[in-house]
């Protein structure tokens, strides 16, 4: 059996376990066990991956297995991973693991909550291991739809509006995506022969340019919506603001990465010529995203909004880097996905914990929290520093790789866009420090806060896991960078030709 299938079976088994259990106290324990197993398995998979590569296997994808599903459409259950998917799987495992612990105290409809959460994660895993476009799309939607319930039921504030908006916009994106996918499918065998959804096969044959030009925008925007591409990002602030903690974490940390990953794996990988032709439009949009998100964040007063806009900025950087279409920038894009995934998850986790204590997310209503909840505050500062690109934490590695990569284009257009994108690091510093300064430092605003408890053990587990991951990538980025870079060489050769 393909070991990758375990990535799907472990969460499914966990869900079954949750359904079976009668005592609600055990629900979270089972979830935690399941997701810990998943985390361990991800690392085991990484080990196997290296072992396989070490043994001289140079296939573009490892652990490939395929089972025919719909013969007449040539739809297969085809799974396989390369370094990029491996990295994304690790990210998902870490964030999900942390997410479970952060939601330790969910008391309303526990079973349903954890099942939805794990279902979401299952979709994400499936998406990352799919080679077949159809299953990829299937898992994509599986991952998106639990969001509605998760936000709608366990959210706060205008949760129904936000949940609806988020779901509809993402589904609207996937509508475009579907058109693009069908276009790819029907152009997958221009010289006759069997149509296919198999990414590798489509790539081998190549799509005619005219079709590429028509379908690239659909596919790219389709994924771009999930990747918070300007101007399709407005689901993100509202959605994040209303979502419960773990959902924000998973959504910003993992789900939004589906957008970037898909834009790369599907849109750009399969339609490189069109990507070249049309990149300029999207470079403009993404550069706007980067700066615009950062400026947007400065003005916000709600912690989650700040972080949501910051996500717009950071995810914009991912797409921006992808569009630069060279090895370095693309490596940076994937690194940025992982880095942003981790740190934004950490952010949302901390915001959730702070909100759970102070019952407000308005930064002006709080102040001086460092004094009363130092543990959480320090984690928040670390997350902030990672976000503004401090060396030694993951954000720096990703951003620098992107910038160096983007700088390889020496024409004026790319230069201006790049400089614009780079300038976001200053703006990021402004809003991060503003939050840190207002929220954590300074005199204690509210005497009631003196009674606040610092992090509990499960919060510590969740937070520290993420910090460790952020720091590990930040301190020793080479292995991850190489892991990502290795498949890129082959992919980008075709992109640049």
């Amino acid at each position: 059996m393909n070991p990758l299938l375990l990535l799907l079976f472990i969460p499914i088994l966990t869900m079954v376990g949750i359904v079976m259990v009668t005592d609600l106290k055990w629900v979270r324990v089972i979830s935690a066990i399941g997701m810990s197993a998943q985390l361990l398995f991800s690392f085991l998979l990484l080990y196997w991956f290296y072992q396989e590569r070490g043994a001289g296997n140079t296939d573009p994808m490892l652990f490939v297995s395929s089972t025919m599903w719909y013969e007449s459409f040539n739809i297969q259950w085809k799974f396989g991973i390369d370094g990029i998917s491996m990295a994304m799987i690790l990210l998902t495992s870490v964030v999900t693991f942390a997410g479970i612990f952060v939601s330790w105290q969910v008391d309303n409809l526990q079973k349903e909550f954890f099942i939805s959460l794990i279902l979401l994660a299952t979709g994400v895993y499936g998406f990352f291991i799919s080679i077949d476009l159809f299953t990829m799309f299937l898992f994509y939607e599986v991952a998106v739809i639990p969001m509605y319930l998760l936000i709608g039921i366990w959210g706060t504030g205008p949760k129904e509006y936000s949940a609806m908006k988020l779901t509809l916009m993402l589904m609207g994106g996937s509508a475009l995506l579907l058109v693009g996918m069908l276009g790819i499918y029907f152009n997958s065998a221009p010289a006759g022969g069997k149509l296919t959804f198999d990414l590798l096969e489509i790539k081998r044959v190549g799509i005619p340019l005219s079709a590429q030009l028509f379908f690239f925008p659909f596919t790219f925007i389709g994924f771009g919506v999930l990747g918070a591409l300007f101007p399709f990002h407005t689901w993100s602030p509202d959605g994040h603001a209303s979502a419960p903690t773990a959902v924000s974490m998973l959504h910003a940390g993992v789900l939004m990465k589906l957008g970037g990953y898909g834009a790369f794996r599907v849109a750009m990988y399969l339609m490189p010529e069109a990507a070249h032709e049309l990149a300029w439009i999207f470079i403009i949009l993404t550069s706007i995203s980067v700066v615009y998100g950062a400026f947007g964040a400065i003005w916000q007063k709600d912690l989650k909004y700040i972080n949501a806009y910051s996500s717009v900025s950071h995810c914009g950087l991912v797409l921006f880097a992808l569009l630069m279409m060279n090895e370095t920038a693309t490596t940076g894009a994937i690194l940025q996905m992982i880095s942003h995934g981790l740190m934004t998850a950490l952010f949302f986790a901390l915001i959730g914990m702070i909100y759970g204590r102070t019952h407000t997310r308005m930064i002006h209503e709080m102040g001086g929290l460092m004094k009363v909840i130092p543990f959480l505050s320090v984690l928040y500062v670390i997350a902030g520093l990672a976000s503004l690109g401090l060396p030694g934490l993951s954000g720096f590695v990703a951003e620098m790789t992107i910038f160096v990569g983007a700088f390889q284009h020496s024409d004026t257009f790319h230069r201006i866009a790049t400089i614009l994108a780079i300038s976001s690091i200053v703006i990021t510093a402004v809003y991060i420090l503003r939050v840190v300064g207002t929220l954590l430092l300074g005199p204690l605003k509210n005497d009631h806060y003196l009674q606040l408890q610092d992090a509990t053990w499960f919060e510590k587990v969740g937070g520290v896991t993420l910090v460790l991951a952020i720091a590990a990538i930040g301190m020793a980025p080479l292995w991850l960078s190489n892991l990502i870079r290795e498949p890129l060489m082959a992919i980008l050769q075709t992109l640049t030709n």
Binding site: T234, Y292, G437, L440, P477, L478
Partner: protein
């Protein structure tokens, strides 16, 4: 000789940070402090050992050679653009190692006394270790990207230390300001790095500065807005240096940074971090001098202007730490001037040597000044010189050491400041007369404001103290004495034989033609200060009253802060960020909501279609059929 042990110099402080940071609440304050200090003592000894060996054994006919004691691939961007983390030993970095570890050690010791009983004492030592780690990593960087990494780390440790009293809003604001301003400058630095590395295809200092490297042998001639890209790159890199070194107009953060604990000011904002900009320019000096002389010109003028500008402001400030802060600006201006007027190689490189010489001496006497000021503040619990006076009776050691420092900075022979300043003036004189005149004047102003400070603290009237000031404990006076000795002796270090632009020794001597006027003007400055401030009199007030408008302008630091505040708060917040937020909510999101609303509106619009009347249904049905039929007949 194998220098791989130098890795410990960098790693030990990191270990100290991690240890103290993780266990800060489990360790007793004094245990943490002692651990940190002992750790640094070991590091200092290591770096002395390194310096001793390097300078005694490394010399050869062709000068000192650079040694890469350690190198590790950290991250690779492309085949050639890779970030290595390593240790580069050359005269420049070894000299910096000595300076940093010495000052840092003194500050560690001093803080044991000064910070005693403060809340967060352990955290303080953790941050100090972090800073030391970053700064050491910065100076031993083998490539420009490693430097950038530690550059940023230095920035963040400075942020943490300035904001050490995080419950004090002014400290929080100051730390934020420092970080953002330097961050802005770092943007330039980063762009410069990217630009330079794009054209030279390397980050490595040795490759960049080698005579047959691309950057020097064939600098890219591509033009952008009329300037060569090399000049652009070097100017942008200098922008980073200017930010850290608080050159005009990026100087605004430094005075505010005095919100941090005073030993921190001594360490970071006087002796080490703020000279990083000088170090940066010195590190890339061959590229500046040989490929982009225009940018050196800019550096000289910026330095010169800053030194004058800061010196003038220093004359009006009342907060003693701020006076010292502006004095720091002014002195770093000197160093920049020296670099700016320098050429490359041999005697031509006098300015280069002078800049680093001044950096070396300045580190000691400025640290001494700050620590002395700290000692005073410790005694009177105030920063303002109006609350001080006549302290010489109460604090003899502080007084003497402070006086030595003042004399040193004023350039009175044979103290170290005299020698280094003299070299700078010589270099400036040979290169550019205007700059020379300015720097000469600044020397006088420096003497004036330093002694204004000195007299105001230790002489003048004796105000009413809440409790009688007393001399600081030995933990604090020992560093003062040590640094005072260093300030006196540092001038005799044969810098021209050790740290030169091309690594080769050259001959230099005192230029009396320049030394005498500079000493004279310093004496004049001291004299005027004594006239004004030795005894309590109304002269200063008269003078300030005479030039009231001017005085207010200078006192408010030429309103540059207000200008920035206006730019950031009013323009960026109100004219960019707020409209962006509005646009996002109302236009972008509005459009999305509008799509929804339109759909609902459309739904209501056609509601009447379903009127409930059967005949209308049939009518609709039949007209539909006919319409469809006609449409198809027409289309066929």
């Amino acid at each position: 000789m194998d220098y791989s042990f130098t890795l410990l110099i960098v790693l030990l402080p990191l270990a100290g940070f991690v240890l103290l940071g993780l266990f800060h609440d489990r360790l007793k304050p004094m245990v943490a402090g002692t651990l940190g200090t002992l750790n640094l003592l070991v590091i200092t000894l290591f770096s002395y050992y390194t310096a001793f060996h390097y300078f005694t054994q490394g010399n050869s006919e062709s000068g000192y050679t650079a040694i890469k004691a350690f190198n590790l691939l950290w991250l690779s961007f492309t085949e050639s653009l890779q970030i290595q983390l390593g240790i580069l030993l050359d005269p420049l970095s070894v000299m910096m190692l000595v300076v940093i570890t010495t000052v840092s050690l003194m500050v560690h010791i001093y803080s044991l006394g000064y910070m005693k009983g403060e809340k967060g004492f352990q955290r303080y030592y953790a941050f100090l270790s972090l800073f030391t780690f970053s700064m050491l990593g910065l100076v031993v960087a083998t490539n420009i990207f490693q430097m950038y990494i530690f550059w940023e780390l230095v920035g963040v440790s400075s942020y943490l230390l300035i904001g050490f009293y995080y419950e004090r809003p002014s400290a929080v604001a100051a730390s934020k300001k420092a970080f953002i301003v330097t961050r802005f400058a770092d943007l330039g630095f980063l762009l410069g790095i990217l630009l330079l590395s794009f054209y030279t295809n390397t980050f490595d200092f040795t490759t960049l500065t080698s005579m047959d490297g691309v950057a020097i042998s064939s600098p890219p001639a591509a033009l952008f807005l009329g300037m060569s890209v090399t000049t652009w790159a070097m100017l942008l890199i200098f922008m980073g240096g200017a930010g850290k070194s608080a050159m005009f107009p990026l100087h605004i953060w430094l005075p505010d940074a005095m919100e941090g604990p005073t030993p921190v000011s001594a360490l970071i904002h006087a002796a080490t971090m703020v000279v990083a900009g000088v170090y940066l320019v010195a590190r890339l000096f061959p590229v500046y001098a040989l490929s982009s002389p225009d940018s050196l010109e800019v550096i000289a003028y910026v330095g010169s202007f800053t030194s004058l500008f800061a010196a003038i402001i220093a004359c009006t400030q009342l907060d003693i730490k701020r006076v010292l802060a502006f004095s720091t600006l002014s002195q770093i201006g000197y160093m920049m001037v020296a670099l700016g007027v320098s050429g490359y190689g041999g005697e031509e490189g006098l300015g280069y040597m002078a800049a680093l010489f001044h950096l070396f001496t300045h580190a000691f006497f400025k640290a001494l000044l700050f620590l002395g000021a700290g000692s005073v503040i410790h005694a009177v619990h105030s920063n303002l010189m109006t609350d001080m006076g006549g302290l010489r009776k109460f604090m003899p050691i502080t007084h003497i050491t402070f006086l030595i420092a003042c004399l040193t900075i004023a350039g009175i022979p044979p103290l170290s400041g005299f020698f280094s300043k003299d070299e700078i003036l010589v270099a400036a004189y040979e290169h550019n007369k205007i700059i020379f005149v300015v720097q000469w004047l600044v020397a006088g102003i420096t003497a004036f404001y330093m002694f204004r400070l000195y007299f105001n603290i230790f002489w003048n009237r004796t105000p009413h103290f809440h409790h009688t000031p007393h001399e600081s404990p030995a933990l604090m006076t020992f560093p003062l004495i040590f640094l005072a000795i260093a300030s006196v002796l540092a001038g005799f270090v044969p810098f021209h034989a050790l740290v030169t632009s091309d690594g080769k020794a050259f001959h230099t001597e005192l230029h009396w033609m320049i030394a005498i006027p500079s000493v004279l003007i310093a004496v004049v400055g001291i004299g005027v200060a004594a006239w004004f401030y030795l005894k309590q009199n109304i002269l200063p007030e008269k003078v300030t009253h005479g030039v009231k408008g001017m005085y207010t302008l200078v006192y408010h630091k030429f309103y540059i802060d207000e200008l920035y505040l206006f730019l950031t708060h009013k323009v960026i917040f109100n004219f960019i960020s707020r409209p962006v937020a509005w646009f996002d909510r109302h236009i972008v999101d509005g459009t999305m909501n509008l799509i929804g609303d339109t759909t609902v509106y459309g739904s209501n619009l056609i509601k009447k279609m379903q009127s409930g009347h059967m005949q209308w249904y049939i009518w609709f049905f039949t007209s539909g059929v006919l319409l469809l039929a006609f449409l198809l007949l027409y289309l066929n």
